[in-house]
Amino acid sequence: MRPKISLFLPGFRRKKEFSKSEAYGVRHLGAIRHALYLPEKRHIVRNIQVSGKTSGLIAAALSLNPRSGILKVMWRPRSLVIWGLAGMAFLSLPVRSQQSERIQGKQISQLQVPSGAQPQQNTSPPTNIPQIPQSPPTEEPPMVTVVLDPAHGGADFGARGPTGLAESDVVLDFARAARIALEAQRLRVLLTREGNQDPTFDARSAMINGLANAIFISLHVSSSGPVGTVRTYYYLFSSNVTPTVNSAAGALPQTAPPQTLGAQLTHTGLIQWDEAQRSSVDSSRQLAFLIQTVLVQRFKGSPDAPIAAPVRQLRTIKAPAIAIELSSIDVTDAKRLDQMAQPLAEAIGRAVAEFHPPSASTTTPSGAH
């Protein structure tokens, strides 16, 4: 497959694609994106998307004109050395004590997340996702892992603001801010995507379903709603109510609820992938209440309690899982959303610190099937 680089530039609905003759293989796009990260032009830089397999140790040199927003892609063999040194320096910097864990998490996400942007259509459990190696049992209580999920990504921008602000970019910033707050508490933090990838629902779920003692927080921004408010959602399966109705011909016999595959699998100790959240509904609700209680203090006008709603991403997660949605992307000044990042991160950090997930024995990664 020919490698290509696609750019989503502001003001253009269609992506601009560069062919192989213009762009050469980029093996470590994340590092390049990080190196090119310019806060004032991040909407341009971050919207780089690479698809296709690359071959050889070839690096592309990207030069950005901050004024025009034009990104030039040039062939420069010497850049391999520059990027290699920069990458090594970046990875070896003793930024935080959890740096090695973050790197480990990044490796895991790179293993599991498909490289190409794919539409979120695949509902079947992924079969090609490698199992995450489990740490050997120790006497110390297992470290809590917080999986932060910046929703959308890739070609899926999510909600779009009037100025072109994309939900996928905003939630990535939120996730990065929350990661810092959580790592300060010596928690292990993983992101379902580190850049502009678009893992499927199931790929994101697979990241956490292989972990013990983990919690999942999905971050969203709504299209509309009162600006400056936040809602926390948890998945609630209703009971298997069998509808009955009195028809004109008389009352119909009440049919017994069909035994689902999930119920059948429970006997074998396995959990049905499509309903994996069933085993963690109570703890998810508890986590949602904790977070919403903290959030409502920081974001006035938010609901007092979390909301039960069938958020698709949460259904296939076999761990405490919630979704947080901020309102809204419908702002003309992106600073209004930026200002929410820090309070949100602190609120998540505080609530997670108070939350006591079920013991590892109950969340042993037997795996959802």
Binding site: D156, D274, A309
Partner: protein, 220 residues
């Protein structure tokens, strides 16, 4: 004036004249294309037969749209509609009114271009609403927006029909994973019939909202 300038000006004048001549037809083509885009959905609407039955009677129905004061909550509005005695047709009339007759655009919960292609009511009280793909593509992305969209349908059906107990939403006859990227459409949504019991309650805050939109079972 140099001869070269004169030639250039003459060429420009010829080009401008040619452009003027072709402009009306160009404008017509552009307008025609715009009209074609706009009417694609309208044409689809035309395929769907008008919903009127011999049993139609003028009734006051409770329809749920966004509250004008609190856009993250739903509020019932009494609307006079011609409603059929046949439950399937009645449901179709209600959902169509939900799409077409919001009190204001800011209170809209479903996209204006969305079309309810068909509504089926099974003998066990399961309603199946089959929408055009515009419901999927035009509903604003977000948990809140999608929840409001589904909740408005569920509550409207519950408030005006006594024999619909759960709802399944399809897009062009197909099962769909999510509405616009967030809300799970793989299962059924509980409908609580209130038509025979009491009029719909007044606007309920989000935090107190009963779980109307929750899949009963992932497997149909």
């Amino acid at each position: 004036m140099p001869r070269l300038w004169k030639i250039a000006i003459a060429l420009l004048a010829v080009l401008a004249f040619a452009a003027l001549l072709t402009f009306p037809s160009l404008l017509r083509s552009v307008l025609g294309l715009r009209r074609a885009d706009r009417t694609e959905e309208q044409a689809r609407r035309a395929i769907v037969p008008p919903i009127s039955t011999p049993t139609d009677t003028r009734e006051k129905a409770q329809l749920f749209w966004l509250s004008p004061t609190s856009p993250d909550t739903l509020e019932p509005t009494a609307v006079e509609l011609d409603l059929s005695a046949d439950a399937e047709k009645r449901a179709k009339q209600l959902i169509t009114a939900l799409i077409e007759k919001p009190p204001s655009q800011t209170q809209r919960t479903l996209p204006a271009d969305a079309v309810l292609l068909q509504f089926y009511l099974m003998s066990d009280g399961t309603g199946i609403a089959d929408f055009s793909e515009t419901l999927d593509t035009e509903t604003p992305s977000g948990i809140l927006n999608e929840e409001m969209a589904v909740d408005s349908i569920v509550r409207t059906l519950g408030a005006n029909l006594s024999n619909v107990y759960r709802l399944r939403i399809l897009i062009r006859g197909q099962e769909t994973d999510t509405l616009a990227g967030h809300l799970d459409l793989s299962g059924f949504f509980n409908v609580t019939p209130q038509a025979q019991a009491q009029p719909a309650a007044t606007g309920v805050a989000n935090s107190e909202r009963p779980l109307a939109a929750s899949p009963l079972n992932a497997s149909p």
